[in-house]
Amino acid sequence: MEAAPTVPTPPTPPTPPSPPSTPVVAAHRERRWLPPLVVFLVLVAVVFGGYFLAGVLSVPAGPAVVVGSSVAVAPLSGWTATPLEPSPVTGVPAERISRGTGTLDVLAPIPARDPTDLLKRYVSNVLETASEQLRVSEDIQTRTLPSGASAARVRYDGMFTNVPTRIEGELTAVVSPNGTGVIFDGWGPEGLFGYALRDIRQMVAGSEIV
């Protein structure tokens, strides 16, 4: 009986060895906490430094402006105050504090009991009569100023008479415990107003009803 021819099998390749172990890099023996701490401090400085510096730079410059013998507002550096003719609508003294296109109109005194009511009266009697396409934010924010007076605040935008660009603004009505009302009407061209808003809020917050 003849043996069946055998099929030559391909040579089996030798199994490659496992990779040799490699030397271990010496571990760093240094102060491992210091560099991450520096990273953390730089991060904090970058994230919060702007707010801190802006606060330092926002300082009252010059004497406070007294409007209608009832409210004192201290313009921040760079802002200038100009008296306005009493509004034909409200008939109360007014002062305009401005820097570039950022403006804060202060009207006082206005007899009032409630800041929300004063705010609504100003919107309907002044803003609505002087503007087209006026939009006022629906939610009225109420708060107490550092002076103890209660305040109500809304945002608005619209086209106003004799102003070529669309205006946006923030209106704050403040009423002191003895019933003296003050209107703070901060405004500026749409898109620019945001750059003046922080200063305006700071001047409003720092105002004192005499």
Binding site: T22, P23, P35, D199
Partner: protein
């Protein structure tokens, strides 16, 4: 190339030392995780708002930016010719840009915008805030991510290409989240607006921007940390701060009203053709600068390989033939050699050839970590290379390919 000898000090390289992100004993890792957790909270809150603006627009925005990010990620990752960075670190860099840097940049930019408005007034601020605040704030926050990656795995950043890879990944992560922000908050968030934003920010401008800025800064960081003992401290600082300043300047130019040839909105007709041109005017000079840096870095990597394994061609151990060395230097020729091997001798032979090529590169890596070419570790690696070649030659059909590379 066997006659070429590079005088560079190869001992400072740590090729082949693979480290993952998870170095639990490194304080830098814990700082990274803590900042990321806070950033994730901010980013998540922002994305929830964007999703409410328009769910289909939001999904489309993410689909489009990921479509852009995937090839860029791959391209940057493979730029490092001989030592791919560990994926966990690369992903960590990407996530730092996408989550931590963007989240904190949003907060920081607002604060510094107040400073600009306070100093320059609202009118100037409205035009210049983006140019004066974002470049410094964002480039700083992004570079902190590169520094943390370095602190977590110091051995991984041993040449300037490594810095470019990590930096570009941070920049890519930042770019895609910022793009989604623009699509949703600036371009309206509806699908039509998202497509418009995609055209402006990715199609017309995608070649320029954060990937380049942070890539360049990453080169500066890598130079600073990898040139100890080779360059003076003053020179290392000069390179680091110089490249950081170059990135900040390019970013400033992009954000500023200078050289602004973008047509006034709303765009129609030929305006859409002007947009890529306007973007190119601002972006191409810096793109050219980065391309030159990357070219020089890659050429330097090749020089390193020459310096490290060029001697091996002559070495008695014969871990590397001259033909193999010529193939090894060129990634495309390595891939072609494996394809030819697969066609001739099958996939197992191609896989073995790949192992041989990798072990020969590892030989270079081992050489960077030992003092002498006769170190026992080098002998072991040479023996391993030889055994792989023997195994390959024993496979039917493989021998000619091995000899020809």
């Amino acid at each position: 190339m066997k006659g070429s000898r590079d005088p560079l000090d190869i001992r400072r390289l740590h090729w082949g030392t693979t480290t993952t992100l998870f170095q639990w004993r490194q304080p830098a890792l814990w700082l990274y995780l803590a900042i990321m957790a806070l950033g994730l909270f901010i980013t998540f809150s922002e994305q929830v708002v964007f999703r409410e603006i328009s769910p289909p627009g939001w999904l489309l925005a993410w689909a489009l930016v990921l479509l852009y990010a995937a090839p860029v990620f791959l391209l940057v990752y493979v730029l490092d010719l001989f030592e791919r960075e560990p994926m966990s670190l690369v992903v960590a860099a990407f996530l730092w840009g996408a989550i931590a840097a963007t989240a904190f940049a949003g907060v920081a930019n607002q604060g510094w915008a107040l400073v600009v408005a306070r100093i320059l007034g609202p009118d100037v601020a409205s035009e210049w805030t983006a140019a004066l605040t974002a470049p410094v704030v964002e480039e700083t926050l992004k570079v902190l991510g590169i520094v943390l990656i370095y602190l977590i795995a110091r051995g991984e950043m041993d040449d300037i290409m490594d810095g470019f890879v990590y930096g570009a990944m941070v920049g890519l992560g930042f770019a895609i989240v910022e793009d989604v922000f623009y699509f949703m908050a600036i371009f309206g968030g509806q699908p039509e607006g998202v497509f418009t934003g995609f055209f402006v920010r990715v199609v017309a401008s995608g070649l320029y921007g954060h990937v380049l800025y942070t890539g360049v800064t990453g080169i500066g960081v890598a130079y600073f940390v990898s040139r100890r003992g080779q360059a003076t401290l003053a020179r290392r600082w000069l390179v680091l701060l110089g490249l950081f300043a170059a990135a900040v300047f390019a970013h400033f130019l992009w954000n500023s009203p200078l050289l602004d040839f973008f047509p006034a909105e709303p765009w129609s007709g030929a305006d859409w053709l002007v947009v890529p041109f306007a973007a190119a005017v601002k972006g191409i000079p810096f793109l050219g600068f980065v391309a030159m840096l990357v070219y020089l870095a890659r050429r330097r990597e090749r020089r390193w390989l020459d310096a490290v394994v060029g001697n091996e061609v002559d070495h008695d151990g014969q871990a590397l033939t001259e033909e193999e060395y010529e193939v090894l230097k060129d990634p495309r020729r390595r891939r072609r050699a494996r394809r030819e091997m697969r066609a001739r001798a099958g996939p197992k032979a191609a896989a073995l050839l790949k192992r041989l090529q990798r072990s020969q590169i590892n030989l270079a890596m081992v050489r960077t970590r030992v003092a002498s070419p006769n170190d026992p570790a080098m002998e072991r690696q040479r023996a391993y290379c030889r055994s792989l070649r023997d195994a390959l030659l024993a496979m039917p059909g493989a021998a000619p390919a091995t000899r020809s590379g």
